[in-house]
Symmetry: none
Subunit: 143 residues, 2 copies
DNA sequence: ATTGCTTACCCACAATTCCCCACTAAATGC
DNA sequence: GCATTTAGTGGGGAATTGTGGGTAAGCAAT
């Protein structure tokens, strides 16, 4: 499980450290540090999948009946997907197109999301959080 | 049961002592000092769950029908959740992202809340208390 | 082939976190 | 009241994590 939130800095070359906690999860639960990073179709941020989860997503896509929406989804998600292996310092180099898509400046925010984790520009994340707070403010769980 | 209120100081490294009473409750009622600390979606403070309660919350979330509010709730609560084990002095190191969220300065206020307990910045707590007093002024319990 | 750009790999430093010990102040027992 | 325990606080130092560059290898365009 990927849990917790962390902010790291992207350097001038476009590299960011994956939070150590997440790398540990990859190694211990997946025995494989490789991740696939792709666009989130919902809002402008990126999503990182451990290999196993990525394969799962692929088969879910394959099992979905074709439609214009699915084709759009595939272009957004599959089209941009790229495999990354962290370097010896635990960093990955985010491709320029992805940086633009997610409006990434310097401060990158990582947020655990269970089987995957999200990668945001910090300012975008802050905005999203505000919006989420407003949405969830009056929300109560059933028991 | 977590009851009572306590204020402790966060040191320069971001560590705060969990009130001894709460640690005792954890050990005696839960046989497990680990807690999960996460954001409260309602106001800007944190909530600490003993492991057992955290699992309960997870299953309540899983049993709730999907909705935009639930997704927001999950982002806020599950995404930021992190497991902590107090150090030998009974302290935990609050992650920077969480400190910011709850506007934590130096004085941290702990408030028992039954099965969980809340962690506030002291000033925020004082303000909240004022607001609560105003709200509860004319309130009477039914029987 | 040469130049210029990008990426991969490596090293070095800085910052953060973890683990331990020590001190103070408050609470407890006699 | 005085000694003893316990809670909370501060800090040192080692280990881990994050950051910044340097250099060499790969590739594309000239």
């Amino acid at each position: 499980m990927f849990q917790g939130e962390f902010s790291n800095n992207m350097d001038d070359k476009g590299r960011v450290s994956i939070p150590a906690v997440f790398r540990d999860t990859l190694k211990s639960h997946h025995a494989d540090e490789r991740i696939v990073i792709t666009r989130s179709p919902h809002t402008r941020h990126l999503v990182a999948y451990p290999m196993r989860e990525w394969k799962r997503l692929q088969s879910r896509i394959a099992a979905t009946p074709p439609s214009p929406q699915l084709r759009a989804f595939k272009r957004i998600v599959l089209g941009s997907a790229q495999e990354y292996t962290p370097d010896r310092q635990g960093r990955v180099l985010i491709a320029p197109a992805m940086r633009e898509y997610a409006n990434m400046e310097r401060v990158i925010h990582f947020a655990g999301a269970g089987e995957t984790f999200e990668i945001w520009d910090r300012a975008s994340w802050d905005r999203q959080l505000e919006a989420d707070l407003a949405l969830a403010r009056d929300f109560e769980l059933g028991l």
